[in-house]
Amino acid sequence: MPLHTFTLNGESVTVDAPDDLPLLWVLRDMLGVTGPKYGCGVDVCKACTSHLDGRDVRPCVVPVSECAGRSVTTIEGLADGDRLHPVQEAWLEQDVSQCGFCQPGQIMAAVALLRRTAEPTDEDIDAIANICRCGTYPRIREAIRRAAARM
């Protein structure tokens, strides 16, 4: 099987995997990085949302071969050591999580949104299509607003 080398949460990793193996399974099954969750496998629920070169992607539909030489950031790589990212801080302040399963993806989607636009409108926030089955959407909206104000 081919080797694929990329940067994962700031460190270089090399995996021996088929070209078309989705990044999600490389992360979870080969590298033990379990923050990105499987929720659908077809880029619908977006629970696995992570960053590829700073842009939000869904690892469940990104073949590992596309990551070669690039930088992958998962929820585990968002904080600076013990210092949480402002979006994570806002998530704690709003006590967003219920079951928590979608929240790594929600947070990574929110961080990507705030990178694209520093002052997101309600319509921008509405456009985040990550599913939260528990219905934490109002607290997510408020957390994004708070984080935007702080950043």
């Binding site: 033990g32 929820i75 967003v96 079951c99 990550n130 089955r133 934490t136 109002p138």
Partner: protein, 742 residues
């Protein structure tokens, strides 16, 4: 084990806390029966109390769980960490946080020092390890506080002996005992001494309500940091050595069987594939990664046998339910009446974390990890399946990514055990989203007939008859005896449980004269299970629609009409709060409208006011929601608020767009792009929840309370905005997608 003393009890529940022989402080608490407290009724054309008014399901669970031993266990580590073993499941409802608050309150220790650990399956707990019916805080509020109060008394007694001063002169705060002269001793340093069975300990009672510093204070989740950093471990995140990914190819119709696999050899030879195992429910593939397992699953060429529902489609189900609905009693003769019939589709539980389990089955023992709300019956059933004694099977309860009723069953754990036994290695078994949506379980489809007769400004009778696809209660009360009873021939056992559940949960909060409810369940072969609020979402949701129609017939405002017929001031208080904060009656543009509804259950009550915008028929949106809630005694208002918003989201989804079409024995929907669960764009930008101040000394249930009132409010708002009668749910139920292949 040394008996210490019966703790002084002020409520009706009696129980006993015992010291466990251990080097540091360890207590267990036994619970005993609690008397039931009928509620008084009074007013308009009085309705007799319904069964649920007198004894609701939660009371039954509390009684059923009463005689079990060693319900709770609390230990204090030498570093001051307090560990509390909880025989329940956390699925996002915030139970572990609420329990940690109760422990911290009574122990006077910082919340951060309390760890709540989910107990393994313990068959000796009998009925007392089932998480459901919004019952956990109701059943645990007293015992948890008394256990912690007893621990505090022992720690104080240990300090008193160490310092040679009377225990009565000592105080506790911040995880330490303090003497009048300023000396302090941390709980960790006292734990060994407090474990001495010879220690004289005065009787301990929990704090009085007015002394609570933490109970009632809005508090963030104890697991919040783990969740936002990705550190929270769910079942498939666990590092079980050697456990390999596993997925199952499932039949093209529900309950279909495997006849033969044509290309077994070719699939076994695929990259990464370790084994292929035929199960009663499909064909399992074990591989090095889930990616490879999914590829191999897709490549399987299987001949399938039929399932029990192969010929069933929505139209047939609807016709069967309509034919099965019990008759109404009151003939509409001389008085005017409202007649209404409602249909509700099947609905997926659809938790974000699909069904999954890890299993490590060896010849002489087995170990299972899964998100389980009835772990005892899971353990007993898996032991029987494997031919092992129950004590050779360990079942770990893992915090789960949502449930909504789904994890009352243990389908994935049983499959994982079978696969692990067959292939002789540990496996991590995961359902795909498509399978999780299609193969269930589901909230059953229901059909409702309601007739309400009225005259001279009074409602004289209110009759409600329900026909439902059978709800599977074969998890019993969480252990094997009632689960076995539910399996009795011809569904008699399950039907009895269904009737019990229906009549102990469904009741009208209004004085509508002669009020009757009836349920008839129809077996369909479709896998079902209790779904958040069980019968009440549809049943009480439909009733709240009829309440609006009665108000319209009699020329009354829907809010004032409800107010006039509710039975007591506590009910009216939440209705008034929602109406006032939601500015009931404020003008809105054409195509937009308000709706209001009320629901009472689990000794709690709530009112919901929403505003809806139907101007874009392609995107009907609830734009604003105001919820008032009274749970008697809120333990964590912040968690309660989250539960109410969760119920609102369930109602938005299932009322407007989320349902399952059954087509020749299988749902068409296969993912969230087809089962239209609410997204951010469907959620109101303005949501406010008002938690009424504590009005009692006991908490009511909260987890399921929010759904029915929100269903009614949304449907009523839609009716007022569109001028149409809401009769079939979800209201927008087009097949606007290409189904995945079977």
């Amino acid at each position: 084990m040394t008996e210490v003393h019966p703790a002084a009890g002020r409520s009706r529940r009696s129980f006993l806390t015992r010291l466990v022989a251990a080097p540091t402080l360890a207590l267990v608490t036994h619970a005993a029966a609690e008397a039931l407290a009928p509620q008084a009724a009074h007013a308009a054309v009085p309705s007799l109390p319904a069964p649920a008014d007198l004894v609701d399901l939660g009371d039954l669970f509390i009684l059923a769980g009463a005689p079990t031993a060693a319900l709770l266990a609390l230990t204090v580590d030498p570093d001051g960490t307090v560990r509390f073993r909880l025989p329940r499941e956390e699925v996002g409802q915030g139970l572990t946080t609420a329990v940690a608050m109760l422990v911290a309150e009574e122990l006077d220790t910082p919340l951060a020092t309390v760890r709540v650990e989910l107990d393994d399956a313990r068959p000796e707990l009998l009925f007392n390890q089932l998480t459901g019916s919004s019952n956990s805080i109701r059943s645990l509020y007293g015992p948890v506080r008394r256990t912690a109060a007893t621990a505090r008394a022992r720690l104080v007694a240990a300090a008193a002996r160490r310092w040679g001063i009377p225990a009565a002169s000592l105080t506790t705060a911040e995880g330490a005992v303090r003497a009048p002269d300023g000396r302090t001793a941390g709980y960790g340093s006292l734990s060994a001494a407090a474990a001495d069975s010879a220690l004289p300990v005065p009787a301990a009672a929990p704090k009085e309500r007015q002394d609570h510093a933490l109970i009632g204070r809005p508090t963030g989740r104890i697991d919040a940091r783990a969740m936002v950093t990705g550190a929270q471990r769910y079942t498939l995140d666990l590092d079980v050595p050697g456990a390999k990914p596993c997925v199952v190819r499932r039949p093209p119709t529900l309950g279909g069987t495997v006849r033969s696999v044509a290309n077994l050899g070719a699939v076994r030879a695929m990259p990464g594939v370790l084994d292929v195992v035929t199960l009663p429910t499909g064909v399992a593939v074990v591989a090095e990664t889930f990616g490879q397992a999914l590829d191999a699953k897709a490549a399987l060429d299987i001949a399938w046998g039929p399932g029990p529902a192969d010929r069933l489609s929505d139209a047939d189900i609807r016709a069967r339910l309509r034919a099965a609905v019990p008759p109404l009693l009151v003939p509409p003769l001389l008085t005017p009446y409202v007649d209404a019939a409602f249909d509700f589709a099947f609905v997926s539980h659809a938790p974000m974390e699909t069904n999954c389990a890890v299993a490590d089955v060896r010849p002489e023992r087995a170990e299972i990890w899964s998100g389980l709300k009835s772990p005892i019956v899971a353990r007993q059933t898996i032991a029987a399946e494997l031919g092992l004694p129950v004590d050779k099977v360990t079942v770990h309860v893992v915090q789960a990514g949502g449930s909504f009723g789904r994890r009352l069953f243990f389908d994935a754990a049983l499959e994982a055990a079978r696969v692990s036994r067959a292939c002789g290695r540990p496996v991590r078994l995961m359902w795909t989203r498509v399978d999780d949506t299609r193969h269930g379980r589901m909230r059953p489809a229901t059909h409702h007939r309601i007739r309400a007769a009225y005259a001279l400004g009074e409602v004289l009778s209110f009759e409600h008859r329900v026909a439902a696809a059978e709800t599977d209660f074969r998890h019993g009360l969480g252990e094997i005896i009632t689960a076995t009873a539910a399996h009795l021939p011809a569904g008699i056992g399950n039907a009895t449980l269904a009737q019990t559940l229906f009549h102990t949960t469904v009741a009208s909060p209004y004085h509508f004269g002669l009020t009757t409810h009836g349920l008839n369940e129809v077996p369909t072969g479709i896998p079902t299970g209790s779904w958040r609020s069980v019968y009440s979402a549809n049943t009480r949701g439909a009733e709240e629609i009829v309440v609006d129609e009665l108000a319209a017939r009699t020329g009354k405002d829907p809010y004032r009409f409800r107010r006039a017929f509710l039975k007591n001031d506590a009910q009216r208080a939440v209705l008034d709060k929602a109406a006032a904060e939601g500015q009931w009656g404020r003008p809105l543009p054409a195509g937009c409208a308000q709706g209001i509804a009320f629901h009472e259950e689990y000794r709690s009550r709530t009112a919901c006011l929403v505003e809806i915008d139907t101007r874009d028929p392609e995107h009907v949106r609830v734009t604003r929601a105001v919820i008032a809630v009274d749970v008697g005694l809120p333990v964590n208002p912040r968690g309660l608020e989250a539960q109410m918003v969760g119920g609102l989201t369930d109602a938005i989804s299932t009322t407007l767009r989320a349902g399952l079409h059954i087509d020749k024995g299988l749902p068409l929907e296969g993912s969230y792009s087809q089962f239209h669960w609410a997204q951010q764009r469907d959620t109101p930008r303005d949501v406010r929840v008002f938690v009424l101040p504590a009005a009692g000394d006991r908490p009511g249930g909260a987890g399921e309370l929010g759904v029915p009132a929100a269903v009614g409010a949304i449907a009523n708002a839609w009716a007022r905005a569109t001028g149409r009668k809401p009769r079939s749910f979800p209201l927008d139920f087009d097949v606007d997608f290409t189904p995945y292949p079977r």
